[in-house]
Symmetry: C2
Subunit: 808 residues, 2 copies
């Protein structure tokens, strides 16, 4: 039945077989029909200002006013207000004609349609990535004679129907040694396979890093730090564009297949956000409004996690907890819808061939005992320590890469790390297999039939005295003493743990797409499994100890090492990312039993507390700070007791604030003031003497409007008066006509008094999404606070370099 | 084994047997050791101002400053700022000594400890309520000879171990007719049982309404509208107090047992919030801060739903989506913890005797087909229509109760409705059973052995041609033609539907504790089951129709009426409450399969859209509005394009704004100004001429401070100058000493300009939780906007009576 991917996609189980094909065609059409801009990274970027032909001259009289420059922060209040104006207009028009009514209805439902498309497209892409990565990973070990496009499993699918183990060695599938030399066994074949493994790893990683550097530099890394920053209101053009999507999808497959210690889960969030951003261009509502678009991106982040783990609820909570900044309830509901659509699309593609939704399906048979909370908390401590250590080491390494010559040779760096990884991981079967496979195996509960090394227990004829008759079926899963297979496995796992811990530090942050979820979980799962087996053996040999008495009698299945692996994985992931609820819910969706939530919660809580003791930042926040993005952490409280007057500019020694007056300044004066400063906006006051505030005007809007007026409006010269008042003042009859700019004046700038505590000011900035705020004293304008000022102030308090905040 | 409740509680399955008893003792101790205030309703209310002995004279120089009056709104910004100050102080002290460090650590963990206690106490109370309600409900039908404190199930537990049906008729359990007359069968026995049923219903409902009226008037209703309002920052003293808790717990049991059409799920949220509020008194951090306390109450709302449905994740989302106002991420995590603790406490009490966590455990065997979405959406439409209709009818009825003489006789009203309900519901077995039992039966999938009427299908020898060999086990559950039993059941269900729809309208809002979840779900479940059976029969008799072809061949189990009931229940509950994500997640937690999320989502979405078309408000918002509480809906957008100047006071024709000057006014002048107005605060300006704003002072603080100064400070007379400046102005040497009040002046009042659009102003109020905001024009003070002004303005826009907003 399953003879290839194409056929497999088409013979998807749950309805919509033809729909899927149609949909994929549509998506390709949509992507290809978008206008290609000449410079690649800027192609279909975040910026709301589309191609000029889209601008309606009546709607937006001066093109460019109200848009943003690259690497700048948006004004949430203005964007949301713009959207409400638009909505009001549509609603009021809808009462006039049927066409307008239909337009209003279609406008209301466009959000849902967009969510549907995002879900379908992300689900389809995730399916494609899974299938391709699986194929390329197997390619490193051998090739299928029936056709090189089959992976190992599919190649052997049709050959024989016997046990799972024998199916691995079907005649159609040739290892490279077999194909090249004909030898299947022996040291020579091993060396050939080893070499081929390294060669493929180098090739894949070389391709990945070259593609990223050549076409889409933004495609590297996990993308989550940047998406967090973008969602908080920053603009990075091209970061979610078409080329980033295409290149990231391709290079993600290559990077995962090259065997580097990285996962595809984080980058899937980036891929989903790219899909959402591109699909936003289909709807004016979202294309033209930066705030509305960010609502869609928040939902897309949920979609990304939903397809990565098959956990829609966990995905929504991840978006809410970890990446989103502005997450209204409407978005919650839509995210959930999109996450479900994506999960079901992925399941109908069925990339794992088991029609399961989740990445690691686990079923445990035994409940856990209250006393086991002690080792679970121990795992939490380990996870917290590892998380804190990892963040420090990784940031130190990344800083080194930025500041030394190492950063100039990214291709060589990737090749060296990939070669080194391949060299060291091939001999150890637990590092040779992919991260996801490893975790899956570690989570697994051993049954009697299981032939994996990890289940290499001694087959004892039950030494237990009386319980045998009681336990019935249970005793086939009873705790048994470890055999030689298990001891070997434990050694290999311990080596794998050390190796993974080291190599992940240097891998995360290289110029290839790289996620952290899988490597972190792998570290935790190994540690957890080791502890779990240790506990099991301890209980087996010492079942008369007081702590084991009563619940761990011989012949009972009392300790499940797989559960320990799961708890360890959650603890390590929690330590690195500082996720809490979303992490527990994702893990809950993997097992499906509320039963195991308590151990997961205990470990996650401990891990967060321990890691927080060494530094409050998770890995994503640390990377945001490393890159100097202006990100105002919504979770952390501002603890210092400074006042607005301590943070605002101008400082005491500085020259006075550059202000415009509402009348009396000429165009020439305004231009020279603007050019002599670098501020992005200027307060407008009644007069220089009174300093009573009228409004605020943005530098960009001011320059565009003056340029526009000089070109189009007759008689505007440098001597023309600039007027911000409602009625033009009387002036000499021979004077040039005034330039009236009230239209670009923001008449409702935010103000705080100089005595406002900074904690309240920071709260206002966060909750309203401000860019700047004016400071007054007894009704007079005194200064200005921008987001950058706040971030610099916070950096100073934390004894960091305030100049590390690069952007506005 | 199971010989009584006490023993049952103690022999709980999952660990912590002794802990639970200890804990219950502790809880009783805590409740009893709280200071009893003389007037009952105000006992342990929401107010932060505890008994005077708690006030530290150094910490809080003028007692009462910074507290709130009853039926007033808190200032979130001030409360949060106060908490940050407190936290800063503890942190800075913690560096000085070990004791202070320990204090700091215990302060940090007090939140978690509080959550643990809330979870344990709510879980224990919920278990108690479940057990008592079960017992009293059975009491209406008969009594156990072994001891009247056994319910029917327990009474027959030990007697015989045969089938479930026979266990119902064990000799120890006597119906009232049997006990009184000795007759078990026949019309006479029926009439005696009928009468006893009505008598008990009347007795229970009489007790419930009398207790509520006598001891805790706030214990009536579901409590969710008031909790929403309290969480948004309103103060209703005593609403979450000790007496409310005790009386609500008792009367809830009575009301549920009386057979009225109400549920215990909504009131459980109120009970959990009472627990949280009472436990807050143990921790200074929460006792003294209204904002921090509301964080705990948000978590308690999650706990309430968690124990009501056994759905911790759904509970957290319910709190987030439906009731909470300010829900920081820290609260999300803590709510989840508390919800889990409560769920596991409830499970260890095991009130349903099946060690299941969820209220309705469902397991479906067949998947659903894409075409079934049509009937599911139909159910959504029904749910939406019913929701909209119910809200209108219920509000009209409640308004009538408020405005006519009906409201003067609450006891008679309850007795009439209870008597009427009992009279009509006894003859129909589907209305006689409790709402939860009915829903449980309707959700159930029929197996071959099922003897309930709803499963009264004809036992056909399979007419199917070939599928029999393929389907194997499946065909024992195959669709079958309806038999006479099923037809009777359908008739009874149709009658029950009409009855439930009518009686719920008059029941909700009476002066007894009453929840809406169960009655709404019951209506939906009946409608869904009817449609489901209809579809099943349609498919059975017309399996060659084009729409059934291919997926509903004879002998296949293609339509699950239980699933339809579930979808219908979700749709009706969604229509009434307008919950979305949380509803779907709660339902998902009942079934545990992601499979059935899509039908639930389709129905919930449709239901919300349909209901919203008739009015945007859910039942809780409608009741908030009916009561005139000042609640600023966080979900709805402000659509009108008015400006701040249109909403602020004073209006154009009104006299100028009452302001204080920062110096130059005497105590007498200030007092006469305060007494001649009713405003709750006054702006302080530099001078009457300049109108430049300095700060804002609250009426309550001003009065308390002046009173205090007159009593304690020497020389303060009516002629003394009131000074708000930092340095006292020079004055004549014979003048009385000035009264310096800068300490109570809020130096950072919020201001907006007169041109600020109201949508932005409303956003600021919502996000920052303001009480008032000053309006300026070009730096001069112009007016003030309070929350009440905004709500009145919104009411005016919506063509409602602006005077319906009663409180500030």
């Amino acid at each position: 039945m399953n003879t290839g991917y194409t056929i497999r996609v088409i013979t998807a189980q749950h309805g919509g077989k033809e729909d899927l094909v149609t949909f994929l065609l549509c998506v390709s059409y949509v992507i290809l029909s978008l206008p290609l801009s000449p410079s690649l990274p800027g192609a279909a970027g975040v910026n709301g200002n589309g191609p000029t032909k889209l601008v309606d001259p009546l709607e937006d009289p001066v093109p460019g006013v109200g848009t943003y420059e690259d690497f700048n922060t948006i004004d949430w209040v203005r964007e949301k207000s713009k959207d409400r104006d638009r909505h009001r207009e549509i609603t009021s028009k809808s009462r006039q004609s049927t066409v307008a009514l239909l337009h209003s209805v279609s406008d209301a439902f466009s959000g849902w349609l967009l969510m549907l498309l995002v879900g379908l497209m992300s689900g389809a892409l995730a399916g494609g990535i899974d299938i391709s990565a699986h194929w390329l990973t197997d390619m490193k070990e051998g090739v299928c004679l029936n056709g090189f496009w089959f992976n190992h499993e599919h190649c052997c699918w049709t050959s024989n129907e016997t046990t799972f183990q024998e199916r691995d060695r079907c005649p159609q599938w040739k290892s490279w040694a077999e194909l090249i030399t004909g030898a299947t066994e022996g040291p020579f074949a091993y060396i050939v396979n080893y070499l081929m493994y390294i060669v493929w790893a180098l090739l894949f990683s070389f391709l990945a890093v070259t593609l990223v550097r050549a076409f889409a530099p933004y495609a590297c890394g996990s993308g989550i730090p940047e998406i967090k920053t973008i969602l908080s209101g920053f603009i990075i053009r091209g970061y979610l564009g078409k080329w980033t999507l295409i290149i990231k999808t391709i290079t993600l497959v290559l990077a995962v297949s090259s065997g580097l210690s990285l996962g595809k889960e984080g980058p899937l969030v980036h891929v989903a956000c790219c899909c959402a951003n591109i699909l936003c261009h289909l709807f004016t509502k979202y294309r033209k409004n930066e705030a509305k678009r960010r609502e869609v991106l928040s939902a897309a982040a949920a979609v990304g996690v939903s397809v990565a783990f098959g956990a829609p609820i966990g995905g929504v909570l991840f978006s809410l907890e970890e990446v989103s900044y502005y997450f209204p309830l409407k978005t919650l509901w839509r995210s959930f819808f999109a996450a479900l659509v994506a999960a079901f699309t992925l399941r109908s593609i069925n990339p794992f061939g088991n029609s399961r939704l989740v990445l690691f399906y686990v079923e445990f048979h035994a409940p856990w005992h209250l006393l086991e909370l002690a080792p679970f908390i121990l795992l939490g401590i380990f996870g917290g320590l590892w998380g804190a250590l990892f963040i420090r080491a990784n940031i130190a390494w990344c800083r080194r890469r930025k500041s030394t010559r190492l950063g100039h040779y990214p291709i060589i760096e990737v090749l060296v790390v990939a070669g080194f990884t391949a060299l060291l991981s091939y001999p150890n079967s637990y590092t040779r297999m992919s991260g996801a496979e490893l975790i899956s195996e570690l989570f697994n509960d051993c049954s009697l039939l299981d032939s994996s090394q990890l289940c290499g227990y001694q087959q004892v004829s039950c030494v237990c005295p009386s319980n045998i008759s009681e336990t019935g079926v249970g005793n086939t899963l009873a705790d048994r003493p470890a055999g030689p297979g298990l001891y070997t496995a434990l050694w290999q796992l311990a080596l794998a743990l050390v190796f993974k811990m080291m190599i992940t530090v240097v891998t995360f942050g290289m110029k290839v797409p790289s996620g952290l979820f899988i490597p972190s979980m792998a570290v935790g799962a190994i540690a957890g499994r080791l502890l779990g087996v240790g506990m099991e053996q301890l209980a087996y040999y010492n079942h008369d100890w007081i702590i084991f008495k009563g619940w761990c009698s011989p012949g009972a299945d009392c300790i499940t090492p797989g559960l320990y692996a799961m708890v360890g994985a959650a603890a390590c992931l929690g330590g690195v990312t500082r996720m809490t609820v979303s992490l527990v819910v994702i893990m809950f969706e993997l097992t499906g039993g509320l039963e195991y939530i308590v151990p997961l919660m205990a470990a996650t809580m401990t891990s967060k507390w321990v890691a927080d003791a060494f530094g409050r930042e998770g890995i994503y926040e640390a990377h945001i700070r490393l890159n100097g993005y202006p990100f105002l952490e919504p979770k952390e409280e501002f603890e210092h007791n400074s006042l607005a007057v301590d943070v605002m500019r101008p400082r005491r020694a500085d020259p006075a604030l550059a202000v415009l007056t509402q009348e009396g300044m000429t165009v020439g004066e305004v231009e020279s003031l603007v050019e002599s400063t670098h501020y992005s906006g200027f307060p407008v006051v009644v007069s220089q003497e009174s300093q009573r505030l009228v409004g605020f005007v943005l530098r960009r809007d001011l320059l565009i409007s003056i340029d526009n007026a000089r070109q189009r409006q007759e008689g505007v010269v440098s001597a023309s008066q600039v007027v911000f008042t409602e009625h033009a003042p009387s002036q000499a009859p021979d004077a040039p006509p005034p330039l009236r700019l009230r239209g670009i004046l923001d008449l409702s700038p935010f103000t705080v008094t100089d005595h406002t505590p900074m904690d309240i000011t920071v709260d206002i900035f966060r909750k309203l999404g401000l860019r700047q705020c004016l400071v007054t004293h007894n009704g007079r304008l005194l200064g200005i606070i921008t987001k950058k000022d706040i971030l610099k102030h916070m950096a100073q308090i934390a004894n960091r370099d305030p100049d590390s905040i690069l952007f506005n």
